[in-house]
Symmetry: C2
Subunit: 121 residues, 2 copies
């Protein structure tokens, strides 16, 4: 990996770590039913070129962190054909947080776009 | 600080740390002359409600990190009326990185917006 590629990757990684929580919370807020890891990964397009460049394994720490903040809750369901699956679901506090985060995201997005255009006051 | 406020602040902080490098590089790319810390802080609206919520002191680690990656260069100029000032300027490598980062930003922004709207494939 050359230097140029590594600064891009570093930037992408930093940018993604900020938005990973937002995107996950958004996916959960838009879902009408509990989802388990693989379903969530598919929703965010993990590993796809167009999606968030986030490996599926990187999802779990974010899910746990959102659960520790009581924005998500989870339960484990046994499965006959597969290992037990942990299903995640947004909490009322998570829905409220999502609305606030969305505002922060929109403000930040508009601010970044204005600054990059050089139209910042 | 209650829990709700603290999750918003945490989210804002994570989001900002990802975009701080991009915004700083953008300000430097759009500037025709070297700028010192206070001028850069004014450009990004540090401390203002509308701007990036980034205290002026938080700028310097980002500037140093961009310089360590050879995306910015700096020199110190003595001043009669004030302490010496360190002026920053974008390098050719910085200009190239900025173009790439801008693309990454635009893709990520569009991806986040699509996901939050629930229009993600």
């Amino acid at each position: 990996m050359d230097d140029k590629e590594s600064t891009i990757k570093k930037f992408q990684k930093e940018l993604n770590s900020g938005i990973a929580s937002l995107v996950l919370l958004g996916v959960m807020a838009n879902s009408t039913e509990p989802l388990y890891g693989y379903q969530i990964a598919r929703q965010i397009g993990a590993g796809q070129k167009e999606g968030l460049s986030m490996k599926q394994g990187a999802l779990y720490p974010v899910l746990r962190s959102l659960e520790n903040s009581a924005l998500l809750q989870s339960h484990v369901e046994p499965s006959i054909s597969a290992p037990p699956r942990r299903y995640y679901q947004i909490t009322p506090a998570g829905k409220a947080a999502y609305q606030e985060w969305k505002k922060v995201w929109e403000q930040t997005r508009d601010y970044v776009d204005a600054t990059l255009k050089g139209t910042q006051p």
